[in-house]
Symmetry: C2
Subunit: 171 residues, 2 copies
């Protein structure tokens, strides 16, 4: 069994900005590029993932490209000390998330969907309060079009490799 | 301008094996997963890469899946101190490489194509001779089918993100 996940990578510009923070504040910095998680990690066999990948082609065809708007720095505290760029919940993005949580694809999400790009995590309470203070002031204001998403799998060292990308929207 | 490259990622199994060496001997370990480079880094604008990606869809359709057979550990010494898993130059792999070096895609490759997966680099001469000695003894004997390749771009921190994957072979 291999662990898979589904995510969107923003443009180089937004990734470079996110990484400028992650480098210092996110221990997952070197394991995966900055991303929006669309579907949390799940296990699948080689056979299963081929069928899932075929379904993801359909999901891409049946959904629409969306505008990724990152408009402020937020935190999940008190649930955890994760600091993130908050991403606009557009109808297109929510529809894509829903299409990735049909019964065929393992059923509904465990938690409600808060689209975000993590930039800091595993901080102590004191670090969190310092870092959140300064990042919130720095803020973010970015907009771009997203027309693809990625199926990834995790290696033994914890890093993620892309298995396949899927274009969003009929061509 | 962004820097792009084209590569194949082998299965999790071979990546985990390669990473067990890269972790110690390859400073690029955290920048990109283990891979076979199919096309060396090139620069392109956002507009250009969209056209290139469309051409890569065609390349995928017009080429055939290939057997990746990694059958020994070699070194590029005396050219450089890179140690790698040597990959069989099958006709399908060579055809794919050629299809990625047409005039439309920037012309022929600068160097002759030696398919390989790097597992150690930037070693001193002494390190190289030690490490190559033990890795060559350990050897490698792995075979798998490859049916996709990846277009990647480089972030400012030197790491590579997948832009898109392309399936190989008509479905």
């Amino acid at each position: 069994m291999t662990k898979f996940g589904i995510a969107v990578f923003p443009s180089k510009k937004l990734q470079d900005l996110a990484n400028s923070y992650r480098k210092r504040y996110d221990p997952h910095y070197s394991l995966i590029p900055p991303h929006i998680t669309l579907k949390n990690p799940f296990e699948a066999t080689d056979e299963e993932i081929k069928k899932i990948a075929d379904k993801l082609v359909e999901v891409g065809e049946q959904t629409k490209p969306f505008t990724l708007r990152a408009y402020k720095i937020s935190s999940f505290q008190p649930v955890n000390n994760v600091i993130y760029m908050k991403v606009d919940s557009t109808p297109e993005l929510l529809a894509l998330h829903d299409a990735l949580h049909t019964e065929e694809l393992g059923g509904p999400a465990e938690f409600s969907f808060v689209p975000h790009i993590t930039i800091a995590q595993k901080l102590s309470d004191d670090e969190h309060s310092d870092v959140f203070g300064s990042l919130r002031m720095a803020g973010v204001n970015h907009e771009e079009k997203i027309d693809r998403f990625h199926l990834l799998y995790q290696l033994e060292n914890g890093s993620w490799t892309v298995y396949e990308t899927f274009r969003i929207g009929k061509e």
